[in-house]
Amino acid sequence: MTTTALTALHVSVSAMLARQFEMDVISNNLANVNTTGYKPSRADFQELFVEGVPDNRSTTPYRGTGPGVTRRSTLPGALAPASSPLEMAIEGDGFFAVTQPDGTTAYTRDGRFLQDGANQLVTVTGQPVVWDGALPQEAEALHVNVDGTVMARANGQWTQVGAIAVFRFDNPGGLLAADDNLLVVSEASGDPAQGVGGQNGFGRIISGATENSAIDYAEEVTSMILAQRAYTMSIKAFQQTDEMMGMANRLRSG
């Protein structure tokens, strides 16, 4: 293994960049401690270790630590009671589907839905929920069953007005974050499979409840401290390499 002072500096720089990215991810988790249906992400880095010296023109570090992946937790958040029957949570595996303004479908576990002026079932940001049915203009009461069937009561009679499907993925942690607490399909997540709540492993739909953010505050703060400590150590290593380069420069000054 050949070493030059510059490669030693690059090792520390790669580590400092990695820790900064890690802090961004942790800060984003902490900022979403109260976001309904939020799942914390984790930055997973990978060791960079190449024997020998790369080509002179290469600008990529070849030892140190490098970007890996960020992945989203799939652990459930606690359920909190909500005032409206149209606010719902999924207990178990799965996501609600939402149509984005550009017509594509996004997925979320944030089930704070409501009936808008056009009697559409929409998210808190006004995006229509993908479901099969229509909300009545006026109903005495609404209810969503665990299998996603939406019931409305008129003149004391309950009738089914539609059904909300649940979607799940082979690798839900691989979904990409989009705006408004939504997630979109990626190559890593795989394609969605549609199912009925409470059947074949799809999560049950709980009406009148929402899922709290799944972040574990203690875990995030621990990760933050670990990242900070590692960052400080890499700065120290960087400074020392720099001092060693300085000493080498002063060899001849006597």
Binding site: Q46, S73, F169, S234, A237
Partner: protein, 251 residues
């Protein structure tokens, strides 16, 4: 006298090499399953000194005066395989090995071994590492995890909704230091024979790196001081050579 220059210079190079490895360990201090690197240093082969012919002591040509060392050389790196501490992450596909053993993973360069247990269930239902390499089962094929409530037993058997499925393989090596070669990206290539390991798999946990922060900082201080001393040695030799050149024999 010039010999002394090279001895001191070799110590400077060795110091930089050790500094880079310490920086590498620090860069990976929070990396699951990371095994720290140590430098192995070796003296250059000592040489026997013989007296040179001179006017002051005629007849003493070829008399041996003893051995001298020509400095120090980094001969490579050695991996320290001690087990890291376990961190509870609760993620279903974070796996830690409690005891001696390695996960077997399939990479484009062949089978590799790692203790990095950060797996995800990928879009095909296989367990994949951070780099997307697949975890192998006892049958040598990538393990498949159907969707559902997953529990992984200590012996590596994957149970989905209480149905036993594939079993994760663990490999053991008689002497990891000589049987394994570092292959980048937190993995090792086998040089020796792999046998089945009886270590226990812990689900929802990760083995942290075995880099010891305080020991690393202490080592860094010792590198700095040794480097400083070598630098002074070069300077002193320079001054001495200067005197010999400019002052001895001045008329």
């Amino acid at each position: 006298m010039v010999r002394g220059f090279y001895s001191a210079a070799s110590a400077l190079l060795a110091g930089l090499f050790r500094q880079e490895l310490l920086s590498h360990n620090i860069a990976n201090i929070n990396l699951a399953g990371y095994k720290s690197l140590n430098t192995s240093m070796d003296e250059f082969e000592p040489k026997l000194l013989s007296r040179m012919p001179g006017v002051s002591m005629p007849g003493t040509v070829g008399v041996e005066v003893g051995q001298t060392s020509l400095g120090v050389a980094p001969i490579g790196t050695e991996t320290y395989f001690a087990e890291g501490s376990l961190r509870d992450t609760k993620q279903p596909f974070d796996l830690a090995i409690n005891g001696d053993g390695f996960f077997r993973i399939s990479t484009p360069n062949g089978e590799r071994f790692t203790r990095d247990g950060r797996f995800t269930r990928d879009e095909n239902g296989n367990l994949a590492t951070v780099d997307g390499y697949l975890l192998l089962g006892v049958d040598g094929q990538p393990v498949v995890v159907p969707q559902g409530e997953t529990a992984i037993d200590a012996d590596g058997v994957i149970r989905v909704d209480n149905q036993a499925g594939d079993q994760i393989a663990l490999a053991a090596f008689a002497n990891p230091v000589t049987d394994l070669q570092r292959d980048g990206a937190n993995t090792f290539a086998a040089l020796g024979e792999a046998t089945a390991s009886t270590a226990a798999i812990r689900q929802g946990m990760l083995e942290m790196s075995n880099v010891d922060a305080s020991r690393t900082m202490a080592q860094m201080i010792s590198v700095a001081r040794a480097y400083e001393a070598a630098q002074r040695a070069v300077q002193l030799q320079d001054e001495m050579t200067g005197k010999a050149v400019n002052e001895i024999g001045r008329l």
